[in-house]
């Protein structure tokens, strides 16, 4: 029994009269502690899959099992609880609360969690020991993304979901962020999902899922994931 399993997940959006199928019978599974990279072109349905997995969106049909729990069947409030306790999200545009300092952004997440990690500790971990009391506007993009990651992992989630975490970053910074994610997955034994349109970073993953036209086209296990430092693109 895999830790995470997508079973025939369909997701349809109604845009007026047109029905768009974002996910069309997507099936894949992820084991606990795996670093998964989901790749595919724009509009392939990878973000939709991530949103569903993150409890931000609901399926039209199908089951999504996370740690023996079918989150496709959860009600709104249970979904919030699921997001609150089991999920850590990292966005392309960081989505930090501008009005809060770096550490406060982390606190924003930890104050609602039971098994949270000390924000200060997490800040140290993501390498922002000296930037704790800076406001997002005073931080660089990479630093902001680090704060975002810190906010996500401070909740001590079962799943860390990252939607194009390097999309707004330059190459070098992007690499550092990926490194941080990889390290986190390894060190904390955390299940991490990274969405990217950049297939080049796929070798860093334990599992690579390729999306196309709303389905997981392939799902290959990488027995020798490369450290991020070795990946070039």
């Amino acid at each position: 029994m895999p830790y995470i399993e997508f079973k025939n997940v369909c997701k349809e959006y109604k845009m007026g009269e047109i029905i768009i199928k974002a996910l069309d019978s997507a099936n894949f599974s992820i084991e606990k502690g795996e670093l998964v990279v989901i790749v595919g072109p724009s509009g392939a349905g990878k973000t939709t899959a991530l949103n569903i997995l993150g409890g931000m969106d609901q399926v039209t049909s199908g089951d999504v099992i996370v740690d023996n729990k079918n989150i496709a069947k959860l009600k709104n409030k249970e979904l919030i609880k699921y997001r609150r306790e089991d999920i850590g999200f990292v966005f392309q545009f960081y989505n930090l609360v501008q009005n809060l300092t770096a550490i406060e952004n982390v606190e924003l997440a930890t104050q609602i969690c039971k098994d949270s990690i000390d924000p200060s500790e997490v800040m140290d971990k993501v390498g922002l020991k000296d930037r704790k009391n800076n406001f997002p506007s005073q931080l660089s993009g990479g630093e902001q993304q680090r704060v975002a990651i810190a906010r996500a992992i401070a909740k001590n989630p079962k799943l860390l979901l990252c939607d194009e975490p390097t999309g707004a970053l330059d190459y070098k910074t992007g690499k550092q962020i990926l490194k941080l994610l990889q390290d986190t997955a390894r060190k904390e034994n955390m299940t991490v999902l990274i969405i990217t349109h950049n297939a080049a970073i796929a070798p860093m993953a334990d599992k690579i899922i390729r999306f196309k036209n709303g389905t997981a086209e392939s799902c290959e296990i990488n027995n020798n994931p490369k450290p991020v430092e070795e990946i070039e693109w």
């Binding site: 919030i80 997001r83 999200f89 989505n95 501008q98 924003l108 104050q111 506007s137 906010r151």
Partner: protein, 1140 residues
């Protein structure tokens, strides 16, 4: 410049896309224009309504009232004046409608072509026995159309009538009485014999005379007080509304409780009075003017001045007329009196003559009696003298007789003596004889004796013979003697006989005399008795004449007295004529009609209000549209940048937003003005309708205000839009295309105060930092809440302020329960009379005398009507009037070198302590006085002056004309009882009960609740629009942040409190500020709406603060509920996907 089609299309698409924003701007415009137009139109609508009402009912422009009535000559004179159109002479007077025990004081009006009442139900009266009443009268008295009522109303046409009465009394009455007296005397016919009956008749007549006059007097008294109405029993044929009484106020009366309850219309031919009580004037072309407008008032004022010019002349004419009339009446009365007096006097003279005649006759009779007496007496005396002479003769003969008798007596005595001697001799003889006889006998015996010696016998015989001789001798002697004796005896008896004869003669003479004397005596006594009775009779006659005389004298006295009285009354009447004051004309206009003037004042207050409230709405509209449009522009920053980069100019770019906001503004504005014009005036009118009776309220579409309102809101909203768009457009396209750098997070000042900051939990820190981050929204929220709270508080405060006026004035300042106005020129005794009547009531606590007069106070250009109060005793006054210094709250003592004026007066005149103002009393006497203090006061203006100061100033004696009465917590009914008793006193003019004043005013003030409701509703709408708009802006501006925390797993409630914690804090701040703002807004509104006559109390009840808070909180909660659902609906994915 041609607007590109694509842009227009874009505008409409934009509206569709952001309909919420569009609606919120539209709503703002709707509210702003609606309130502005509606409120602004209310006052003109009210003025139009009353104007059309007054025009339809042909209501007067100018009213002329005179203290002594008005005549047709006055009407003619008025018609000559420029601009004077129709002139109507009408009648009005107070009357009592009696229904069993119940008395209703009514104003009796006459139907005329001027001030026509509006027939509500029934028909117009056809004759003098029908009348119209007001609806209220029917309900109050439980009557219906068709019922009859009984009206009591006395003619009371001023002094002229009093004079008439006096004159009538002086002439008619008295002369009648006198003539009666005289006629009573006339009947006295003194008889020749001064008969008792006749005089009795006189006194009886006299008695009858006086007793007869009494009922006569009573009769004349009742017939004197004539009725004002010919028909006192009237049938109600319909109900009306009078344009003269549009308010509930019906005025005061001298009758009953002193308060007029209702009015009643009768036909003109039912009025029993010649002179008009008032004249109503319609001005030429007055229909071209709208009532209460400046041009109308100017027109009226000009004509009033023209009337003013003939005022004195007409007053004098009327005065002269009255004087002439009175003088003529007096002259007639005088003449009549004189003729009556002459008649009476001549009759009295006649009576006196008759009495004199009687007296003379009595005197004659007396004389006659005396003569008779004398005659009788002389007769008596002559017979007496005869008797006397007879007596004399008798006496003489008696004397003679007596002397004869005496001689005879002596003779007799002699004879007696002789007789005696003779008898003695005879005796002796007899004895000798006897001896002889005895010796003889013895001799004989002895001779016979046988034994006898003869010698002896012869001796004896011898002796015997001797004896026998002797005896014979003796016998002879004896015979001679006896013969002598008989002779003598005969002689004596003869004499005696003679004497006896003489004596009997005398005796008979004596008897005769006695008889005569007795006869004379009887005659005399008879005569005397006759005379006496005659005399007595005469005496009675005399007595009767005397009593008749006395009666006459009494009658004369009475007559004289009555004549004197009549003369006195004539003098009084003349005095009264002298006292006839010059009649005074009062030239009034509609403003003096209490209903009309309070109506116009109300329209002015609304006008003032309509200036205040829309300002608040416009201010809010600006803020709301500014935030909304700024947000919109910000959201479309990239689009603007793209357009700019594409080469569109500023105008073309901004046209979209201008169209957007213009459309919102115009649509909202047009809807708003239509709602506003219909709804607001009607709502406000609904509340005023409780106070005013007007058949129709006219709502109109006021183009001017509509345009103005729309223009103002357009400027506000589109201006705000332009401002935000132009601010963006200043930036370069490149800048615009880049996402707007998010607002920088900043540390707030509070963080530096670490000991507080540390104690705050995380979410509070966030809240505080957010508040300071979004300063515009922070301000908006606070201003919105502030506006809401302050409007509500001002509404409640206004109510508090106004509802406090009465208790403050009538409980705090004026402590008395009754104000008893006395008539003018009462004597001290009469004043005491009233006081005693009050004092006799043990429920009356204090009686304070005062002198009150009305006048004006002037300072520089300002002038105000005032009441001047001069207390008899300053200390006493403190029991009923509290003079409190406005600033120090301390009691003011009336000084002797200045006056104390009331607060509002000082404000209106612009006077402060130490200034000198001019006071003009009703006689136009102007005096300069120093203001020494300013006292708290709420209703009307007063000037207080000490008695000493007044007397020094005016050089006039103080005289009480008002008595303030404080009682022992009596109920209104008990007070009314006292009031009724007072009113019935001749000295009392009016009685005002503080309780009644309070009650009537209180009813009026209750309608202010509607103002409060309007304020609350508008404040609520305001609060709602603002808060809702802000919440929307808040959410849209922070959507990413909110989506983030939702993603982080915040429960809906947590998200809600994350956002609303700020709102709540801002609301609290807004409320607190609003309470302060409301406090001042209240004072501002009070200041704007305050009527010149009133000082609103600057007070807000604590409960009102609570209400303001609760209502604001309630509105906030409603908005927050909307927010809650809006937050729940936030789409996390959509929000987070886009680039900011």
């Amino acid at each position: 410049m041609k607007i590109k089609k694509a842009l227009l299309k874009d505008s409409f698409k934009e509206i569709k896309a952001s309909y919420k924003r569009f609606i919120s701007i539209m709503l703002m415009a709707l509210l702003g224009v609606g309130f502005f137009a509606g409120l602004r139109a209310t006052s003109p609508d009210m003025v139009n309504s009353i104007d059309s009402y007054y025009k339809n009912q042909n209501v007067y422009d100018i009213e002329v009232v005179s203290t002594l009535g008005l005549t047709n000559e006055d009407i003619e004179a008025l018609k000559q004046i420029e601009n004077v159109g129709e002139v109507y002479g009408t009648y009005s007077q107070d009357g009592l409608v009696k229904d069993g025990e119940k008395e209703t004081v009514t104003k009796i009006l006459t139907l005329d072509d001027v001030n026509k009442p509006v027939l509500i139900e029934g028909t117009m009266p056809q004759n003098a026995s029908e009348c119209l009443v007001e609806e209220k009268f029917l309900t109050d008295n439980n009557k219906k159309i068709g019922d009859t009522i009984q009206i009591e109303s006395k003619l009371e046409m001023a002094e002229g009538e009093d004079l008439d009465e006096l004159v009538q009394e002086a002439s008619g009455n008295e002369s009648e009485e006198v003539s009666q007296e005289a006629s009573a005397n006339e009947k006295e016919e003194v008889s020749q014999e001064a008969s008792a009956n006749e005089t009795e008749e006189v006194s009886q007549e006299a008695n009858n005379g006086t007793s007869e006059t009494e009922p006569e007097e009573i009769a004349t008294e009742t017939s004197d007080e004539q009725n004002y109405l010919k028909n006192q029993t009237l049938k109600i044929v319909g109900t009306v509304e009078s344009p003269l009484y549009i308010s509930r106020e019906r005025g005061t009366s001298r009758l009953g409780s002193g308060q007029i309850n209702s009015y009643i219309y009768v036909t003109k031919d039912n009025i029993n009075q010649e002179v008009y009580t008032e004249i109503y004037i319609k001005l030429k072309n007055s229909d071209e003017y709208k009532t209460s407008t400046n041009s109308y008032e100017k027109y009226v004022e000009e004509t009033k001045n023209n009337i003013e010019a003939i005022k004195e002349e007409r007053e004098n004419a009327r005065y002269q007329e009255l004087i002439d009339e009175a003088n003529q009446k007096i002259a007639e009365a005088e003449e009549e009196l004189n003729s009556e007096r002459q008649k009476g006097e001549s009759q009295i003279q006649e009576a006196e003559q008759k009495i004199q005649d009687g007296k003379n006759q009595i005197a004659n009779a007396e004389k006659e009696i005396a003569q008779n007496e004398k005659e009788a007496n002389s007769k008596f005396s002559s017979s007496q003298s005869q008797i006397n002479s007879a007596k004399e003769a008798l006496t003489k003969s008696e004397k003679e007789y007596n002397s004869n008798k005496a001689t005879l007596e002596t003779v007799f005595k002699e004879a007696e003596n002789q007789k005696k001697t003779l008898q003695e001799n005879i005796e002796n003889v007899n004895t000798s004889l006897e001896q002889v006889n005895a010796s003889y006998l013895e001799l004989t015996e002895k001779l016979e004796m046988k034994d006898l010696p003869e010698e002896e016998k012869l001796a004896l015989e011898k002796s015997k013979t001797e004896l026998e001789t002797k005896k014979s001798e003796l016998e002879t002697t004896k015979t001679t003697l006896e013969k002598n004796l008989t002779e003598l005896e005969n002689k004596v008896s003869e004499g005696k006989q003679e004497l006896k004869q003489a004596s009997s003669k005398i005796q008979s003479a004596k008897l005769e005399i006695e008889k005569q004397e007795k006869a004379l005596q009887t005659a005399k006594s008879q005569t005397n008795a006759q005379i006496a009775s005659a005399k007595q009779e005469l005496e009675t006659s005399k007595q009767e004449i005397k009593s008749g005389e006395e009666d006459l004298e009494a009658s004369k006295l009475e007559f004289n007295q009555k004549i004197q009285e009549a003369e006195g009354k004539l003098i009084d009447a003349k005095e009264e004529v002298k006292k006839i004051e010059n009649p005074v004309w009062y030239i009034l206009d509609r403003k003096q009609n209490s209903g009309y003037s309070s109506f116009v004042q109300d329209t002015e207050s609304i006008e003032n209000l309509s200036l205040v409230f829309p300002v608040v709405f416009f201010a809010i509209a600006i803020l709301v549209s500014l935030t909304s449009m700024t947000r919109m522009v910000e959201e479309q920053r990239q689009e603007i940048g793209t357009l700019k980069a594409l080469g569109y100019n500023k105008f073309q770019i901004s046209i979209k937003y201008i169209i957007y906001s213009s459309l919102a503004c115009i649509i909202g504005g047009i809807i708003g003005m239509n709602i506003g014009f219909q709804l607001l005036p009607r709502i406000i009118w609904d509340m005023y309708e409780m106070m005013y009776n007007m058949p129709e309220f006219l709502v109109q579409f006021d183009i001017a205000n509509a345009t103005l309102g729309l223009a103002l809101i357009y400027i506000c909203i589109v201006g705000a839009t332009l401002y935000s768009i132009l601010r963006e457009l200043r930036q370069t396209p490149a800048n615009l295309l880049r996402p707007k750098s998010p607002k920088l997070g900043k540390r707030v000042l509070l963080e530096r105060i670490t000991f507080i900051w540390k104690r705050l939990n995380f979410s509070h820190k966030v809240t505080i930092r957010n508040i300071f981050r979004y300063k515009k929204r922070f301000l908006m929220t606070i201003i919105g809440i502030f506006g809401c709270t302050s409007l509500i508080l001002a509404g409640f405060g206004l109510k508090d302020s106004i509802s406090k006026i009465l208790p403050y004035q009538y409980e705090k300042i004026f402590n008395y329960d009754m104000q008893v106005a006395l008539k003018n020129t009462l004597t001290q005794e009469q004043i005491e009379n009233v006081k005693n009547s009050l004092k006799s009531n043990d429920k009356v606590l204090d009686i304070v005398e005062s002198y009150m007069l009305s006048g004006t106070a002037n300072y520089n250009e300002s002038q105000e009507d005032v009441q001047i109060i001069i207390p008899d005793n300053i200390e006493e006054m403190k029991k009923v009037i509290n003079l409190i210094d406005l600033n120090t709250e301390e009691e003011i003592n009336l000084p002797n070198d200045g006056v104390v004026i009331t607060d509002k007066l000082s404000q209106l005149l612009g006077v402060k302590v130490g200034d000198t103002i001019k006071i003009k009393d009703s006689n136009d006497v102007e005096k300069e006085v120093k203001v020494s203090n300013i006292a708290e006061n709420y209703i009307y203006h007063y000037v207080y002056m000490s008695k000493e100061y007044y007397q020094n100033l005016y050089q006039e004696e103080y005289s009480t004309n008002v008595i303030f009465v404080k009682d022992n917590n009596l109920s209104e009914e008990e007070e009314q009882e006292i009031s009724k008793n007072l009113i019935s006193m001749n000295e009392v003019s009016t009685v005002q009960l503080s309780k009644t004043i309070m009650k009537t005013l209180d009813d009026t003030m209750n309608s202010l609740n509607y103002v409060v409701i309007i304020l609350i509703v508008s404040a609520g709408l305001l609060a709602f629009v603002v808060l809702y708009n802000l919440a929307n802006v808040n959410i849209s501006e922070r959507i990413r942040e909110l989506a983030t925390i939702k993603v982080l797993g915040f429960y809906d409630r947590e998200v809600y409190s994350y956002v609303t914690r700020e709102t709540i804090l801002l609301t609290v701040i807004g409320i607190l500020l609003g309470l302060v703002g409301g406090y001042f807004l209240n004072f501002y509104i009070i200041g704007t709406c305050e009527i010149d006559m009133l000082r609103f109390v600057k007070i807000i009840d604590p409960i009102s603060y609570l209400y303001a808070i609760l209502i604001t909180v309630a509105f906030t909660i409603i908005v927050n509920i909307f927010t809650y659902f809006a937050l729940k609906k936030i789409d996390m994915i959509g929000s987070l996907k886009s680039v900011e």
